[in-house]
C-alpha cells in the first residue's frame, strides 16, 4: 500500500490567550492518500484553518507530528518548511490574494519563478492553464480589473501551475455567488483529479462535500471522518 501524502499523529495545537491557553486541536490523527479530494468541515473557530496551516508547514503543532510526503515538518527549519511549501504545496484562499501589482500571467508565473528560472515549457504550461480556466484573453489584466470569480480562477491556476502534489484551499467559494462558486469548484475538481493531486478543502459548501472522496469534521478540537451522506 502506498504511503499517505499527509499523516497527522496526535496533533495538538494550543494558543496563548491572555494569561491562559486555548486548545484548538486536541490529539488529531488522520492520513490523506495521494489523489484524494478531502473536505474539512466545522464551525467557525473550530480549527479548520489551523489544520491547513499545520499541513502546509506555515505553523507547527504544539504536540504531535505532521508528516507530508514522507517529511516530518517539525524536523525542518522555518526556511526548509518554506522551501518545501514552495515546491510541493498550492494554496487557494477565500479572498483570492492575488498580487495586485502583477498581471494575471505574472501571478501565474510567480510560483514557477520562485522555484528558479522560468523556461518556455513553464510559460506554455501557464498559458495552457489560463486557457483551462477560461482567462487566456485576460493575461495582461491586473487583478483589480477582474471580477471575484475571475480572480479566484486565476488563484486556482496559480495553485496548480507548479504542479504541487498537495493543494490546500481555505473556503475557496466563500466570497463567490452560487453560480460562480460552482464554476470554480468544477475547475478545482477537474484540474486536480486530472493530475491526481491531493486536495484538502476547508468549506461549508454542500456541493463541495458531495464531490469529496472523504469528509472530515472538526468538533471541539477533535477530527472525525464523516460518512458523506451526513454532510
Amino acid at each position: 500500500m502506498p504511503e499517505p501524502i499527509v499523516t497527522l499523529r496526535a496533533v495538538t495545537k494550543t494558543y496563548r490567550e491572555g494569561a491562559g491557553e486555548r486548545m484548538v486541536l486536541a490529539g488529531v490523527d488522520a492520513s490523506f492518500e495521494a489523489g484524494e479530494f478531502i473536505v474539512l468541515v466545522g464551525k467557525s473557530g473550530s480549527g479548520k484553518s489551523t489544520l491547513l496551516h499545520l499541513v502546509s508547514g506555515i505553523d507547527l503543532p504544539s504536540q504531535g507530528d505532521v508528516q507530508v510526503m514522507g517529511r516530518l515538518l517539525g524536523s525542518l527549519s522555518e526556511e526548509e518548511r518554506t522551501l518545501f511549501r514552495r515546491r510541493n504545496v498550492g494554496f487557494i484562499f477565500q479572498a483570492y490574494n492575488l498580487i495586485p501589482t502583477l498581471t494575471v500571467e505574472e501571478n501565474l508565473l510567480l510560483p514557477l519563478e520562485l522555484r528558479g528560472e522560468v523556461n518556455a515549457d513553464d510559460r506554455g504550461r501557464a498559458r495552457e492553464l489560463l486557457e483551462d480556466v477560461g482567462l487566456s484573453t485576460r493575461s495582461d489584466s491586473f487583478p483589480d480589473e477582474l471580477s471575484g470569480g475571475e480572480q479566484q480562477r486565476v488563484a486556482v491556476a496559480r495553485a496548480l501551475v507548479h504542479e504541487p502534489l498537495l493543494v490546500l484551499a481555505d473556503e475557496p467559494t466563500g466570497n463567490l455567488d452560487d453560480q460562480t462558486g460552482h464554476e470554480v469548484l468544477d475547475l478545482i475538481d477537474r484540474l486536480t483529479r486530472q493530475k491526481r493531486r491531493t486536495v484538502v478543502v476547508v468549506t461549508h459548501d454542500r456541493d463541495l462535500i458531495e464531490r469529496a472522496d472523504r469528509v472530515f469534521a472538526l468538533e471541539r478540537g477533535r477530527l472525525f471522518e464523516r460518512p458523506k451522506a451526513s454532510g
Binding site: 484553518s49 496551516h53 502546509s56 506555515i58 505553523d59 522555518e78 526556511e79 518554506t82 522551501l83 511549501r85 514552495r86 515546491r87 504545496v89 494554496f91 484562499f93 479572498a95 490574494n97 498580487i99 495586485p100 501589482t101 502583477l102 505574472e106 508565473l109 510567480l110 510560483p111 519563478e113 520562485l114 483589480d144 496559480r158
Partner: protein
C-alpha cells in the same frame, strides 16, 4: 530574488508616486544638508591650508618671538651662526583694499635673496622686476590671478588700508604658483621687501618670524637651545605646520556642531524613510502573508523590503548630493563669514568638491535609508504566512503594548540621561544621549497619542458631532500607523523647537552680557579683519585727539592682541578701567573689584569660562605666556563670563602688560560722557576730532550692542539655515506620513461613503483627523523640543565651548511648532480628502 517580485515592488512604488517622491525628497534633503555643510566646512579649511601652504613654502620650522616680534638684528646673527640651516626673515600682516571691500589680503615681507630654498617664486635669481621690487617705495609682487581679478595692471598703484589707515602699494610684477603647488595657494597674497612691509605694518626693526629649513640630520633640541641663547630666551622654535594646524583647530567645535546639526536633519530624513517603509509593510501585510504561503522565505521578504528602500535611496542620494553641492555654494559664504568673524582670516572663492565628502554622502544616503528600512524589513519577515491574521490583531497588540513601549521609553530616557550626565568632554557620548532621548520619545508616542485621542474625542464630538468623534477614534483605531507618523512628525518639529530655543537662549544671554559689560557711552575702534577679536590698534595721534574731546568725562581703553601660551595662541585683553565700581567683568564666585585690584598689583591674569574649560584651568592654576621678554608664568586668579569667543581669552592689567610687553598701543576707547551731554552730538564731535587719518568705527553704546548682536546673528545664520532645512524635511515628513495614512484608509472611507457620508463630511472627517494628528504632534514636540534645547544648552554647548547660558523659552518658537504641524497636517489632508470625495465608493470598495 524573483524578477516578478522586483517588478511587483516597482509597480507598488509607481502606484504611489506622491509618497515615493516625498520620501525621495526627504532623504535627499537630509543628505544635501550633510553634504553641503561638509563641503562648506571643508572648502573653508582647505582654502586656509592651501594659502598657509603657499606662504610657508618649504620651511620646516619657524622661529617666533613674543607678540611684538623678533628684533631684525637676530636674523643676521642666525645667518652667521646656524651653518647648514637655511633661514629667511618674514614680516607678515593682513591688509584690506577698497578695490575689493570685505576681502583680506596677506602682506608678506621677504628678503628675496634668502627666499630660494623656501619660496622659489620670489627668489632673487628667478624674479622679474627685482630691481623695482627692492628700490621702488611700496613695490609688491602680486599673484597673477588676484591682479587679473581686480584689474590691476603691472606698474599700477594699488590702494590698501592697514588697521583703517590708508596706504598704497605698486604691483611691480606678477608671480605664479610654482609647479606642484595649486594656483589658488597664492590667491590674495601681496609680497613686498622686508623694509616695505615693516614700514607699511608699523613693524619698524621687527620681524614676525624667521622661517628655517632644518636638515633631517639636525639635533632639534640642540638647535632650539642654540637659538634660545641667540635671542636671549625671547624666542622659540616651532614646527612650521604646527601653527596652521593650531589655527584650523580653533573652529573645530564650530565645525563639529554644524556637522551634528546637519546630522539631525538626516535623522529626520531617516524617520521619513522609516515611516514610508513601515507603511509599505503594514499596508501589504496580507500580500506578504500570501507570498509567505506561496513559499517566499523570510530572507527573501527581508530582501524584498530592503530592495524597495534602495530603489528610493539611490535616486534620493544622487539628488541629495547634487543639491548638497548647490547648497554648499551658498553655505560656504556663511561658514566663511563666521570663521572670519570668530576665528581666522580666510578667503574662499569656490566650493572644492571633495571625493571623501561625496563618498560620505553616498554612504549616509544609502546607509541611512537601509538603516531606516531594517526595522520594517524585519517586521515584514514576522508577518505570519497566515492570511487569517488581520491588521486588527496587530492594532490590538500595539494598543496593549503602548504602555510597555512607553515604559521602555522611560528606561531608555534614563539611560540617555546617564549618558548626558557622564562626566568629561566627549561630544559623541552627548550626541548618543541626545539621540537616545529622541528614540525614547518615539517609543512613548503610541501611549501619548492614545491619551491625546481619548482627551480630544469629547471635545471634537461636541464641536463636530459624529464626524468629530470618528476622527478622534480613527487615530487610536489605526495606532500602528498613526503613531509612526506622529513620532516622525514630533521628532522633526521638536528638532526645530530645540534649535530655536537654544539660539534664542544664547542670544538672550549674550544680549544681557553686552548690556552689563558695555558701561560706556561711545566706543571708538578701527576696523578689524576678524570682527570679534578687535585687535587693530588706534593711531596714537587719534587717541590723543579723541581723549581731549570736550564733554568726555572719563575714558576706558582696551588692548586686544594675539599671544602664545604653551597650549597655543589665545586672545589677550588688556583693559584700563577708569570708572570706579565698574562691573564690566563678571567673575565666578568672586567680587569683580577684588579681582581687578589684585590683577593690577600682582603678576596674575584672569581667564574666560571657555578658556578654563578647554584647558582644564582653574583659579590658582599657572598660565605660561610667551611675552616680549620670553616665557613668563602668570597665576590665574579669576574666571569670568565672556561670550565674545568660543576659544576664550586671557585678561591682564595694563600695569602687568606693560612690564612684560613692549607694546603701548590700544585697540579701542570707551568714552563716558559728562552728565547731561547729548550723546549723538558728542559722537559727532568725536568723529570730527578723530579726523580722516584712520578709518574708525565710532558707535554709541546701543549701536555697538546692535553691531555685536548682528555679528552673533551672522554666526548663527548657518544654524538658522539648518533649522529651516530641518523644518523643510519635517514638513515633507508630515505631508508624506499623513497622506499615506489617509490614502491607505481609502476603503474605510469608501464604506463610510457607501453608508451615507456626504463628500463634504468626508472632507471634514479626513481634514479633522489629519489636523488632530498635526495638533497632537505639535503639542508633543514642545516638551521634547524643550528637552532637546536643555541638552543643547547645558550639555552640548558646555562640552563644546564651556559657556554658561541661561535657558529662555520663547513663546514664538512653540507657536511656530504648532503652526508648522497644523499647516502641514491640513495640507496633507487636502489631496486625499479631495481624491476620496471625488472617487466612486464602489471603485474603492472593489480595490481590496
Amino acid at each position: 530574488m524573483s524578477t516578478l517580485l522586483v517588478r511587483s515592488s516597482f509597480r507598488h512604488l509607481r502606484r504611489h508616486p506622491a509618497l515615493m517622491l516625498l520620501s525621495i525628497i526627504g532623504i535627499a534633503l537630509g543628505v544635501a544638508v550633510v553634504v553641503s555643510i561638509d563641503l562648506a566646512n571643508g572648502s573653508a579649511l582647505r582654502a586656509f591650508s592651501l594659502s598657509a601652504q603657499g606662504i610657508t613654502g618649504k620651511a620646516t620650522h619657524q622661529l617666533l618671538g613674543g607678540p611684538s616680534g623678533l628684533d631684525d638684528s637676530l636674523y643676521v646673527r642666525l645667518r652667521r651662526e646656524l651653518g647648514p640651516v637655511a633661514a629667511a626673515p618674514i614680516v607678515e600682516g593682513f591688509v584690506t583694499s577698497p578695490l575689493e571691500p570685505g576681502r583680506a589680503f596677506r602682506l608678506l615681507g621677504v628678503d628675496p635673496f634668502a627666499e630660494a630654498p623656501f619660496r622659489s617664486y620670489v627668489a632673487a635669481d628667478a624674479s622679474q622686476g627685482l630691481r623695482e621690487f627692492l628700490s621702488s617705495p611700496g613695490a609688491a609682487f602680486v599673484s597673477a590671478a588676484t591682479a587679473d581679478r581686480l584689474g590691476v595692471a603691472t606698474g599700477a598703484a594699488w590702494p590698501i588700508a592697514i588697521e583703517g589707515v590708508p596706504k598704497q602699494i605698486v604691483a611691480v610684477a606678477r608671480i605664479e604658483a610654482p609647479a606642484g603647488t595649486p594656483a589658488r595657494a597664492l590667491d590674495d597674497v601681496l609680497i613686498t621687501d622686508i623694509a616695505t612691509a615693516q614700514e607699511l605694518l608699523g613693524y619698524s626693526g621687527k620681524l614676525s618670524r624667521v622661517d628655517l629649513l632644518v636638515p633631517d640630520s639636525t639635533d632639534l633640541a640642540e638647535l632650539a637651545a642654540h637659538v634660545r641663547d641667540l635671542c636671549g630666551g625671547r624666542c622659540e622654535l616651532r614646527r612650521a605646520a604646527a601653527r596652521s594646524l593650531m589655527t584650523t583647530q580653533m573652529g573645530r567645535a564650530f565645525s563639529l556642531n554644524l556637522s551634528a546639526l546637519s546630522l539631525l536633519a538626516l535623522v529626520v530624513g531617516i524617520f521619513l524613510v522609516y515611516n514610508t517603509m513601515t507603511f509599505a509593510v503594514v499596508q501589504r501585510r496580507p500580500l506578504i502573508g500570501t507570498l509567505r504561503c506561496l513559499g517566499v522565505t523570510r530572507s527573501e521578504v527581508f530582501g524584498f523590503v530592503v530592495r524597495e528602500a534602495l530603489v528610493l535611496a539611490v535616486p534620493a542620494t544622487a539628488f541629495g548630493i547634487a543639491l548638497g553641492v548647490l547648497l554648499a555654494t551658498e553655505l560656504v559664504h556663511l561658514v566663511t563669514r563666521t570663521i572670519n568673524d570668530l576665528y581666522f582670516v580666510v578667503n574662499v572663492r569656490e566650493v572644492s568638491l571633495d571625493v571623501q565628502t561625496i563618498a560620505k554622502g553616498v554612504v549616509l544616503g544609502l546607509g541611512a535609508t537601509l538603516l531606516a528600512a531594517l526595522a520594517p524589513a524585519w517586521e515584514a519577515t514576522r508577518v505570519p504566512p497566515s492570511i487569517t491574521l488581520r491588521r486588527s490583531s496587530s492594532e490590538a497588540a500595539l494598543a496593549r503594548n503602548a504602555g510597555r513601549l512607553a515604559f521602555g521609553g522611560v528606561a531608555l530616557a534614563a539611560l540617555a540621561t546617564a549618558l548626558l550626565a557622564w562626566p568629561g568632554k566627549n561630544l559623541l557620548v552627548s550626541y548618543m544621549g541626545l539621540f537616545g532621548v529622541l528614540l525614547a520619545a518615539a517609543l512613548a508616542t503610541p501611549a501619548a497619542t492614545r491619551a491625546f485621542a481619548l482627551a480630544a474625542r469629547p471635545v471634537a464630538a461636541r464641536i463636530f458631532g459624529v464626524v468629530g468623534r470618528m476622527a478622534a477614534r480613527g487615530i487610536v483605531a489605526s495606532l500602528t500607523r498613526t503613531s509612526i507618523a506622529l513620532a516622525a512628525l514630533m521628532i522633526a518639529v521638536a528638532t526645530t523647537v530645540g534649535v530655536g530655543i537654544m539660539v534664542h537662549s544664547f542670544r538672550r544671554t549674550v544680549a544681557d552680557w553686552l548690556a552689563a559689560s558695555l558701561e560706556s557711552d561711545i566706543f571708538v575702534q578701527p576696523p578689524s579683519l576678524i570682527s570679534r577679536k578687535g585687535d587693530s590698534t588706534l593711531l596714537p595721534s587719534v587717541v590723543e585727539r579723541v581723549a581731549s574731546t570736550e564733554g568726555v568725562s572719563s575714558i576706558n581703553t582696551i588692548r586686544n592682541r594675539r599671544i602664545r601660551t604653551l597650549d597655543g595662541e589665545i586672545d589677550l585683553h588688556v583693559p584700563v578701567l577708569n570708572r570706579p565700581g565698574s562691573r564690566v567683568y563678571r567673575f565666578q564666585k568672586q567680587e569683580s573689584g577684588d579681582v581687578m585690584q589684585k590683577l593690577e598689583r600682582e603678576q596674575t591674569v584672569a581667564i574666560t569660562e571657555p578658556y578654563a574649560f578647554h584647558h582644564d584651568l582653574g583659579v590658582g592654576s599657572k598660565l605660561e605666556i610667551m611675552t616680549d621678554r620670553g616665557h613668563e608664568s602668570f597665576r590665574i586668579i579669576g574666571i569670568y563670563a565672556d561670550y565674545a569667543s568660543d576659544e576664550g581669552g586671557v585678561l591682564m592689567s595694563r600695569n602687568v602688560y606693560e612690564r612684560h610687553f613692549e607694546d603701548r598701543r590700544i585697540s579701542a576707547m570707551a568714552l563716558v560722557a559728562e552728565p547731561g551731554v547729548d550723546l549723538a552730538a558728542l559722537s559727532e564731535k568725536v568723529r570730527q576730532r578723530a579726523g580722516t587719518e584712520q578709518a574708525l568705527h565710532i558707535r554709541l553704546n546701543r549701536e555697538l550692542r546692535e553691531a555685536s548682536l548682528s555679528i552673533f546673528d551672522r554666526t548663527f545664520a548657518i544654524t538658522q539655515v539648518l533649522r529651516l532645512l530641518s523644518m523643510g524635511v519635517a514638513f515633507v515628513g508630515i505631508l508624506s506620513a499623513l497622506m499615506a495614512l489617509a490614502l491607505e484608509r481609502a476603503r474605510e472611507l469608501a464604506i463610510l461613503r457607501a453608508v451615507g457620508l456626504l463628500p463634504r463630511q468626508l472632507v471634514q472627517l479626513v481634514t479633522l483627523q489629519t489636523s488632530l494628528m498635526g495638533l497632537c504632534a505639535g503639542l508633543l514636540s514642545i516638551p521634547l523640543g524643550i528637552a532637546l534645547a536643555f541638552i543643547l544648552v547645558f550639555v552640548i554647548n558646555r562640552r563644546s565651548f564651556g559657556w554658561t547660558l541661561e535657558l529662555a523659552l520663547p513663546a514664538h518658537v512653540m507657536i511656530e511648532a504648532i503652526a508648522l504641524s497644523l499647516l502641514a497636517a491640513l495640507l496633507a489632508g487636502i489631496y486625499p480628502s479631495w481624491k476620496m470625495a471625488r472617487a466612486h465608493p464602489a471603485a474603492a470598495l472593489r480595490e481590496d
